[in-house]
Every structure is written in structure tokens, then in C-alpha cells.
Symmetry: C2
Subunit: 413 residues, 2 copies
């Protein structure tokens, strides 16, 4: 194992602590899109970017962008690094921020002989908490922003357009804020794993093969309410028993396909009284796989199964697809360079899919993307207990620096 | 089929309509314990009792009691008839009231040669909606009232003692209000079935064999929350999948024992988000059977099953028994007389258990009890759609009148 720069890692963790103090709610970290707390975090990042010799600015939606020009005469293009600065409610301090801070730490350690420019992006919205639609920041950069979203309102009735203006953005200039793809060499995102696989493999980092496609559906079983004491079992049309049989089937279905995950996270029972046979059970389904065909096959099987269970019980099954996002493959070339950097850092190469969505998935519309996952304690995220070690962060900084170094050689340093 | 007194049945239905107008909420029937709406309904019943030649009064908790003395020289004791006047929220107009009104109709048709007194009870609380504890009215009459309940508060913070006083009752006199058992020949309650069995058998009435014992339990499965996209199936400890497997097992267990009903009516999932693996699934269990041993065996099997499912999945199962009520058998002698009355009325005898609790279960502490169920449309109750036909009500009046006639003969008329 080569020498690891744990003092830079400690600096990264200290900065994550400082960012965590930028919050909408005292006592816990909540930093939604276009809030003063996010602006405050962005100001800190701008300050650190400038201290690292970068030109720092905000674009029309409030993404913070730092740019370091190539060495004199360099014209190989631009490498983009980054992640997001917004958080969920009652968040941890690394989901998103770690990628921005590791990128910044790499820029601080760069030699001055790079043939390409380096840009660091701190996206203004990835989690989608405030407006129920995610990846606002990277969508603007990738030219994928849907202007209809500007009329969405948050829980307080504030439109997205007004929210953007209130923090100094320009809702009318979003289309023009897209990044020109012509000179881009790729986008590389460092992110906590948000899962347990690196911990299970005892590895500090892993290379992401792609970002799973995802389907969200709402499934409802509708039977007939009845008195829990007076309706014999044979005459019941119990919506919850139907739903329960199907939930068991969802798990079994996921078990038939390597890499498939399927989750029922929400379930509401109506009328929901201990002495009333459930008339309705409405639940959420979340299915993800790196291969869209496998995901779609699983969905079709689960839909058939819901209908078969419902038919056998004399209840109705309703199925509504809420959202479907295709899988995104990381660029084999760029991920290959990242793997080589991992190996050079003395770490066994682990390839793993990302079950969670990331800005990299949106950025793949613009250019090649690669992602490096960093082990997080217990696989826990979206939780104040989110934790990384300085040692693992040092590996991430080392690997990302080596990647930039490899790219510099490749592009004629 | 003998002549049926459908005009009296129509009178009963008309009175049910008038009682339904005594409500706490305009536009729907809600008449909880110790409310002005209940007092208003009780006033109507008192008026009808007096018109039928009864002495009418209220006891210390607000039960309305009508008494008709025996024929001169009669000293065979007292037959009690009745049911309750309180309702659930957004109730139907027959659950409870039908038993009071059929009793009243029978008294109006009685000859003047009965060797026993007849008392009609209109209990002030059976549903337990306001104070979360049921059978308050019959508990006072049976001497089973728990004085600690007087300190319970309703949703507005009003104690039961204050509520009783506010409608003219005497909370301090409840113990003394118990009915002396010495002269009682029995308590007979007419009630809508609240289930589908008479409808399935195409019968207007049925004789209740007993009131099922009931256990309510709260069962919780506790696993580990996780990201729906990043935690592979093999590493999950999903509380909802465990609960779902158990819900399926609850239904299967009920299927192994004739007459057993087992219901999961409530289920709450935490944290309850579509993209989060459930950490906790808390549910209600309601198990009923006419045989306490069968009910207890089913509960033990279900508890073992919950623990086995939990152990196999690395989740925890917690079990809390909330309430256990033993079964009550109707008096074979009194139910036998009722069966004979049904047969004499030209109706095939159907014997069925009551899965719902009734005042008769509490009154069984005081004297012999019997119950006559009346078919209700679709088995629906606790719902404005509750419905009975005039024809079925006429049969119930006929049968109950025949029962009183048989008892009069038996007691030396």
C-alpha cells in the first residue's frame, strides 16, 4: 500500500463538518435546493475553489462551478469532477459533499503540467426533496432540464422559478446554461456507496460499472371490508392478505435474477382498524437492475403475479407505473482508467453497480462518465449516522489523483 | 309461514329512522356515550316505553330501563330484553337500536296475563367509541363496571365521570345501580348479524350459540432500514417481507380450525418511503373462536410462527397481547326455548356463533342469556349502508313474542 495523504483526507472531513453547519434546521442537516443554507454552503465551496487557484462562479440554477485552466499550451479539453451539495431532510454529511470535496482536494494537489482543464461541479439539486423532481443541477448542465418544472411549487407554495430567483439564479437562462459538450473528456464522480458491498468485501473503494435502471410503481389491492369477528374466512376478500402474498412473491422474484433488487417500502391499509377486514392495501414497488431487459422482465412477471393473486381471491389489482429510468452504463474507457488507478493505488479492483441514482447518470447524456464509490459505515446513508473513514477518503483522493495523472499522460502530457 | 305483523315491523323501522335523527353530527349518525344526542334518543325510547304501559327510568350511567309488571299475582321473576342505543362514528341505524325496538314492539303486543315482569334495557354504551372501553352500560347493570374507568378522558379531555354527570347521571352511584340477580329469568337480545351467514343461508333469523372469545395483539417485526437500490437482496433484513410472510400464515392458520377467524386489520410501515427498505412493520392481530382452547392454541401457533419467521430473517418479532376476552356460551335452556320459538314461527333453525361482542356477553355474568340474530344486507354493519327488511324484522318480532309466550307457559301461566 503506497503512502496515503491522510492529512488531506482530514482536511476533507473537516470541510464536510463545516458544510454540515449550513443547514435549514438547527440541530440537524437539511439543505434543500435554492435555500439560504445551500447558498451558504456554495459560498464556502467557492472560497475553497478560489484558494485552490480556480475560477469559481455560479450558473443560472445555482450550481457552483470551479475551473482550472490547463498548463500553458494545453488544449486536450476538459475533465469534469463533482457531485452535489443539497441534502435530504435530516441528512448525513457525505452524500454528495464528499465528491465535491475529494475533487477539490485533488485540484489542490495537482501539478501544473496538466494538458486539460479541470472543472469541479457542486450541483445545486440532486435529491429532489424540495420539488419532488431530482437532478435539477446536473440536468441544467447536461441540457436536460424540463422548463415545465419551473412552475412546480414546494410545500410552502413557492414556485421553482421564484425560488431560483430568490437565491440569485436566472430561471429564464437555464436552457442557455447547458455545458457545451465539444471539449469534454468526461465526468468523474466520487460518492459514498450507500450500500454494504464494499464493507462486506473489506475494500475502501470500488469502481461503478453503471447506474441501475429503476421503475417505481404503485400497486393497490382492493377487496371488501368486513367485521373481523363475523365474516368467516371462506367469505372474505381481504386486500391485505392479497398484498402480503404478493410482497412475498416480490422478494422471491428478485431472488431469481442476479443483481435485481425489488422493494416494497410503503404500504397503507384502509380502513386500518384492528377489527375490520382490510378493504384496500396500497403499496409502492421499486425495482432496479443494471440491465433494462431484466428489470422489465421482472416487472412483467410481478404484474402478472399481482393479477393472478387478485383473481384467485376475488379482489382487484391496480397497477400504475410512476417512473421508469433506463440504466446508464459507465464509459468502459473512463471506468477502465479508473480501475487502473485503483490497481496502481494498491487496492483490489471491485466492480459494482450503483443501485442509487446519481448526477453521473444525467451527465452521461453529455459525455463519458465514471464513478468511484467510497465505503461507508454499515452502508448507511440519508441518515445523520452516515460515516466514512479518513483512511478510505485518502484512498479516494489517491485514486482520483492517479486517474487525473493517467488521463494527463494519455492526453499528451 | 304464519301471518307476519309487518305493520309493527314498519313501526320499528320508522322508529329506527327517528332515532337516527338523534346524532352528534349533521348528515350522518354518530351517537356516542353520554352525549346530548344519546340523551335525546333515550327520551324518545322513554316516551315509547310509557306509551306501551311501562314504567321508564334512567339508571346512574344513563341506561334507559322500562319495566312492565307481571299480571296480578304473577311472581315468576323478570325477563330482560334489550340492546344498546349508542353507535359508532358514521353508523348504521340498526346495530343496537333494532334490539331495543323489537323488544318494545313485543311488549306492545303482549297479553296481560304474563306471570313475570318484562324489562327492556336500552344500554348507554356498548361500542366504547368515546372512552375506548366498551359495554359500559351493561357492565353497570351486571355489576362488572370498573370504577377506574371514570377517570378516563375522551378526545376533548372530558373525564367519564364529568360526562356522566353532564347528562344527569350519578358517577358515584354506579356500583349501587347493579341489577339484583335473584329474580332474573334471563336476558334476551335481538341484534343484526353483522355478518353474511344468514344471507348465505337465506334465513331471516338465527339463534346464537355463544359469543366468541377474542384476543387482540400487537405484533411488530423490526429489521434494518436500507436503501432500496443499494442493499442486495441477500443482505436485507426487511421487516415488511417478514410481516407479509406472517400475514399469509395467519390466514392459513385460521383455515386449519373450523370457526376460527383471524384478521390483520392494521399495518404500519416505518420509515414508509418507496426507496427505503422497511425497518419496522407493526400490525394488529384479532383472533376469535367460540372455544377458548382453540383460540389459545391458534395464538400460540401464530406466536411461534412469528418468531420462526423473524429468526430465519434476522429480524426481531415483538408480541404484546392487548386484550383477551373469554367466550360466552348462551344458556342452552334459554337458547333452546328460542330455537323452539323459531321453529314455531315456521323458520328453519340456524345456529351460529357471534363473532362480534355484545351486551349479552356481559349480561351472562348476571343471568342466562340468549340472542337472536337478524339477517342484514350484505352482512354490512358499522356503516350507513346497514339495512334490514321489514319482513325479517317481522319474523324477529314474531319469534321473540313466541319466546315470551313459551316462557309464560313454562312459568305457570
Amino acid at each position: 500500500m503506497p503512502f496515503l495523504d491522510t492529512s488531506t483526507a482530514a482536511l476533507v472531513l473537516g470541510r464536510a463538518d463545516r458544510l454540515a453547519a449550513c443547514t435549514e434546521e438547527p440541530g440537524r442537516l437539511t439543505r434543500r435546493f435554492a435555500t439560504p443554507a445551500l447558498a451558504q454552503a456554495g459560498d464556502l465551496v467557492c472560497e475553497w475553489m478560489r484558494a485552490a487557484g480556480m475560477d469559481a462562479r455560479r450558473d443560472a440554477i445555482g450550481n457552483v462551478i470551479g475551473r482550472r485552466e490547463p498548463a500553458r499550451g494545453g488544449s486536450a479539453g476538459t475533465v469534469m469532477l463533482g457531485s452535489h451539495l443539497d441534502t435530504v431532510v435530516d441528512a448525513g454529511r457525505y452524500d454528495g459533499m464528499l465528491g465535491v470535496l475529494v475533487a477539490l482536494a485533488c485540484v489542490e494537489r495537482l501539478g501544473d503540467d496538466l494538458p486539460f482543464a479541470v472543472e469541479v461541479y457542486a450541483f445545486a439539486d440532486e435529491e429532489g426533496v424540495r420539488y419532488g423532481t431530482a437532478y435539477l443541477g446536473s440536468s441544467v448542465v447536461a441540457g436536460a432540464f424540463d422548463p415545465a418544472a419551473l412552475q412546480r411549487r414546494d410545500a410552502d407554495g413557492v414556485t421553482m422559478a421564484d425560488a431560483i430567483e430568490a437565491v440569485g439564479g436566472e430561471p429564464g437562462a437555464l436552457a442557455a446554461a447547458r455545458r457545451d459538450a465539444a471539449d469534454l473528456l468526461g465526468y468523474v464522480e466520487v460518492h459514498i456507496e450507500q450500500g454494504p458491498m464494499l464493507e462486506a468485501e473489506d475494500l475502501p473503494v470500488g469502481v461503478v460499472t453503471g447506474i441501475a435502471g429503476q421503475t417505481r410503481a404503485e400497486v393497490a389491492f382492493t377487496g371488501v371490508a368486513g367485521h373481523a369477528g363475523t365474516v368467516p374466512m371462506a367469505l372474505r376478500r381481504d386486500a391485505l392478505v392479497a398484498a402480503a402474498g404478493w410482497i412475498v412473491a416480490v422478494e422471491a422474484q428478485a431472488g431469481t435474477t442476479e443483481g435485481l433488487v425489488a422493494t416494497v417500502g410503503e404500504l397503507r391499509v384502509e380502513p386500518g382498524a384492528s377489527n375490520v377486514i382490510p378493504a384496500r392495501a396500497a403499496l409502492s414497488l421499486d425495482v432496479r437492475h443494471l440491465d433494462d431487459t431484466a428489470r422489465e422482465a421482472a416487472l412483467a412477471a410481478l404484474r402478472d403475479r399481482a393479477e393472478a393473486i387478485a383473481a384467485a381471491r376475488g379482489v382487484a389489482a391496480d397497477w400504475a407505473e410512476v417512473q421508469a429510468t433506463p440504466a446508464v452504463a459507465c464509459s468502459p474507457a473512463l471506468a477502465g482508467e479508473l480501475e487502473a488507478a485503483v490497481e496502481a493505488a494498491g487496492v483490489r479492483i471491485a466492480r459494482l453497480p450503483s443501485g442509487a441514482g446519481h448526477d453521473a447518470a444525467v451527465m452521461s447524456r453529455l459525455c463519458d462518465v465514471a464513478m468511484l464509490f467510497v465505503r461507508c459505515a454499515g452502508g448507511i446513508s440519508h441518515n445523520p449516522a452516515e460515516a466514512v473513514t479518513a483512511g478510505d477518503v485518502a484512498v479516494a483522493i489517491d485514486v482520483t489523483s492517479r486517474l487525473l495523472d493517467r488521463l494527463a499522460h494519455k492526453h499528451g502530457r
